[in-house]
Amino acid sequence: MNPWSSSKEAAAGLCSRFGGWRLLGPGLLWTTVFCLLPMVVVLAVSLATRGTYGGVVWEFSLDNYRDLLHPLYGRIFGQSLLLAGMTTGMCLALGFPLAYYIARLPPRRQALWLIFIMIPFWTNFLVRTYAWIFILRTEGLLNTVLMQLQLISTPLDLLYSNQAVLLGLVYGYLPFMVLPLYAAIERIDPALIEAAWDLYADRWSLFRRVLIPLTKPGIIAGCVLVFIPSLGAYLTPDLLGGARSMMVGNLIQHEYLVARDWPLGSALSILLMLIVMGSLLWYFNAQSPQIRERGEQ
């Protein structure tokens, strides 16, 4: 008997002794109070009207949603989706080789590498973003070094651009891609890779037909973990983008705090949540046929 099945039996015993609901209770209560209720409040506010001084007046209206139809908001959402998609793609392109490399190291060195990846998290994200400002600005570290090496004669305009925002987002969310990918790759049985070599797979088909299918859950988890927060980012566009353009996060923050238009801000938040949920559902649906296939085999 393996230890896994005995722990399963113990868990089943726990369930029957305490009853499923009682075990579910604390988690359910937490979700209701801290997740569901605030969402209901946001939904309710999005259907209300802005008071003259910025409060919320409880007069039912769909005006906030009608205002969302303005093409301006469509462009902001489009640009944010594009930037979040590019961030996810770049994190995946950089994170996969890194995770693969780490997963193939001896265990002791793996731990060291993972700690290196985590160390930046011990510092506040705001502070790290300010550090990028010092690196990228006209008289910053990067320009100084490039000028000293005489690679450029005039400083490059690096800061306050969409590229700087992309850099900041990829930098910030890369660990969220690497960790689930590492967990997935580390679990692959090396014998499968050897078998692929034995069956005359070249590098590309090894990658495409063995590694990708086996690490798919990790890829999906990593993409979700990177895509969602970068879609809602607002600090990075403000600091590294110089507030020259807006992402959805900035727009929502602007409506809540600056314009004191909570109803419109709430309507925007609801729309953002719907887009995120919609794209997740679509993604999982797109995955499910393959999972079913594998189950039937």
């Binding site: 993972l114 990846i117 008289e139 967990a183 020259r244 353009s245």
Partner: protein, 358 residues
């Protein structure tokens, strides 16, 4: 390799925990001191970097009270926190237009003028301000202007008009405030309009002028533009006088000008909140802060002008003569207070968002 799998789970957990904690951290810049005794505690809600600790300490010594300082970084944040149910604050520091909003919402306690003898020495233009002409709710504390900070070695001849911010020679070396009312204020004054206009066609024209300016603008920043000026990243910055004055310390060639078309005049005011549990002590605290000598020391430290005109006697000459701190008297009639524009706010909002999406 079970060890490293446990580790990766642990690290993942730490990552999420740290991320959540960082998120909470942004709103938690408090300065709470634990411990309680018989001492009365006064809760002072003010701008970040807007107090001088030794003055607070002197007040604590003199009145046997404890002062707990909590900070915010914008008027909107102040209002949102108070509307969101933050209570227990005694004294807050909203700016002029926010005083009218807070008063209209019944958030402010009426002041007791008998407890505020220092109120008699206010600067003439602050004696009957439009947002609270009789000082029923608010006492002006520090004041100043919004103008242009520039590097006099690069920008020649010295500018005297908002139009310099549309000068193509300075492409990519201009910063504007990241504040829709101030940015629209500057362009509206340059067009000879009031910065409180509610005329949609005027706002539309102002928007087009701003869109034309955007390629020249390096960044819209309300916080660190003084560093950008000092480091030479920008040579022209729309900004608050006091902050430009701080950049002058790092780069002496920085100058400040209030354009001839006029600009914003502002005053941060001391108010007592209606929910304050210690109103009498709150009045004493306000009276202390606007005392001539205390206000002079505050001014010298923060480089904003004091509301008490007698404070001028205690402020060093170079600060008094710095137009970034004390604007020349002849300019004051040309300045305009930022007023509430009510429902037209959404028009400004839309225009601002359109500008950002160009």
């Amino acid at each position: 390799m079970p060890v490293s799998r446990g580790l990766v789970r642990f690290l993942g957990f730490v990552a999420i925990a740290v991320l959540l904690w960082n998120g909470c951290d942004r709103g938690r810049e408090t300065n709470q001191q634990g411990g309680a005794g018989a001492m009365v505690t006064l809760h002072y809600f003010t701008w970040s970097d807007y107090v001088s600790p030794e003055l607070i300490h002197e007040f604590e010594q003199a009145h046997g009270a404890r002062v707990v300082v909590d900070t915010f970084s914008s008027n909107e944040e102040l209002l949102a926190k108070l509307q969101g149910g933050a209570s227990g604050y005694d004294v807050a520091v909203p700016s002029d237009f926010m005083v009218s909003i807070m008063a209209a919402q019944g958030m402010l306690a009426e002041l007791d003028s008998a407890a505020l003898p220092n109120l008699k020495a206010l600067e003439p233009h602050l004696q009957h301000p439009a947002f609270d002409p009789t000082h029923r709710y608010a006492v002006p504390y520090l004041w100043g202007t919004v103008g242009i900070g520039y590097d006099s070695t690069v920008v020649t001849p010295p500018p005297d008009s908002w139009d310099i911010l549309w000068d193509k020679r300075y492409r990519g070396r201009i910063s504007m405030l990241n504040d829709q009312r101030e940015v629209f204020g500057a362009v509206l004054r340059s067009m000879g309009q009031s910065m409180n206009t509610t005329d949609p066609t005027v706002i539309e024209a102002a928007k087009h002028k701003l869109i034309a300016q955007k390629p020249l603008v390096k960044t819209y920043a309300s916080e660190h533009y003084d560093q950008l000026l000092a480091s030479g990243d920008v040579v022209l910055a729309q900004g608050w006088g006091g902050q430009v004055a701080r950049a002058m310390r790092d780069r002496p060639s920085i100058r400040y000008v209030v354009p001839k078309e006029g600009g914003t005049i502002w005053a941060d005011c001391l108010v007592v909140l209606r929910t304050s549990p210690n109103k009498a002590l709150a009045m004493q605290f306000i009276n202390f802060l606007i005392d001539a000598r205390v206000a002079a020391r505050t001014s010298e430290r923060l480089l904003f002008a004091a509301s008490n005109r007698e404070a001028r006697a205690w402020i060093s000459r170079d600060i008094l003569e710095n137009p970034a701190v004390y604007p020349p008297a002849e300019l004051i009639p040309r300045m305009e207070w930022m007023g509430d524009v009510g429902k037209v706010m959404r028009t400004y909002d839309r225009a601002w968002t359109e500008l950002k999406m160009q």
